[in-house]
Amino acid sequence: MKALFLGLVLCLAAVSAGAVNPDEMLDDPALEARAREISKGLRCLVCQNQSIDDSDAGLARDLRVLVRERLVAGDSDGQVIDYVVSRYGDFVLMRPPFKATTYVLWLGPALIGGLGVLAVMAFYRRRRAAGARRGTAPPPLTEDEKRRLETLLDDRSR
């Protein structure tokens, strides 16, 4: 089981080596896996659209090394991430946190989608109401109208 797990980790490491150099990697596969996971969530400050796990920039390398050192020193994943955020702010997180300043970011799409659904619903409701108005039975014919109708029909049948 352990061998299988190790093999799996090695396979994963082989396909997604990214920018991590062999000399940066930790000997402990579990710790290294945690380091990789953390690195994927941290933005490279030089290239901005890459995580430090993907980036070849010097600063990204030094951040990867720092992440590993802190893990070896016994930090939890959260503590490592908190340290980097305390230096660079939320911007360093690839996935922005859900908090007061980011409500618009996270809730905006749902809100606009919701408004769209409401608009579509209102549109159909109004159309149905208009259809129903058209569908109601017209008032019954008056005596005069009935007579005119009969003469017309009579003319045709002749």
């Binding site: 400050l45 030089v46 010097g58 030094d62 305390s86 660079y88 911007f91």
Partner: protein
């Protein structure tokens, strides 16, 4: 619904988008606001570079308003900024401390300073970005204004120009000295 409103709707949408762009496109996406403004200088202690016997640490930044300038011999924009730093040194305007960042060769920094001049009071050698990460630096050059209590008060991203010095940094330093 009012029909006339529908006709102006595209114009309204355009105006909103144009307003967003007008503001958004003037912003520099690489200038990330520092979260360290008004916080004490982080704990750090750097060894000296070759040819000097004092490095730079947190304790050195207390007692007097000073600048901490991140530079490197590999950094082209630092060369652009360098003459201004030399000028400030000549005028004795403010102590400038340097963090020599990510030199792969221990001689590279000292050689660079020998060639272009050395405006720094103290210099720390930071080959592995220790202090640089603690300061939340994203690139070189960057310059921090530190007050006499060792609190970071301002961060300049990119080279200091004559204009930035005159309009922003000098007035700020003078104000911090009065405090």
């Amino acid at each position: 619904m009012n029909r006339r409103f529908l006709y102006v709707l595209p114009l309204v949408v355009f105006a909103v988008i144009a307003a967003y762009f007008a503001v958004g496109l003037t912003k520099d996406p690489s200038a990330i606001p520092s979260v360290l403004i008004d916080t004490p200088v982080p704990e750090f202690a750097l060894a000296p570079i070759k040819g000097r016997d004092r490095g730079l640490s947190r304790e050195d930044l207390k007692g007097e308003v000073s600048l901490v300038n991140i530079f490197g011999s590999w950094c082209f924009a630092c060369r652009v900024e360098h003459p201004l730093l030399m000028q400030l040194k000549k005028e004795n305007a403010v102590p400038i401390h340097g963090i020599d960042w990510r030199e792969t060769d221990r001689d590279a920094g000292p050689k660079w300073l020998a060639k272009f001049g050395d405006p720094y009071t103290l210099i720390g050698d930071d080959p592995e970005s220790r202090a640089v990460i603690a300061f939340g630096v994203t690139g070189a050059p960057e310059t921090f204004v530190v007050d006499k209590n060792g609190v970071i008060r301002y961060k300049q991203v990119g080279p200091i120009t004559g204009r930035i010095w005159e309009e922003t940094l000098r007035p700020l330093i003078e104000e911090l000295r009065r405090q």
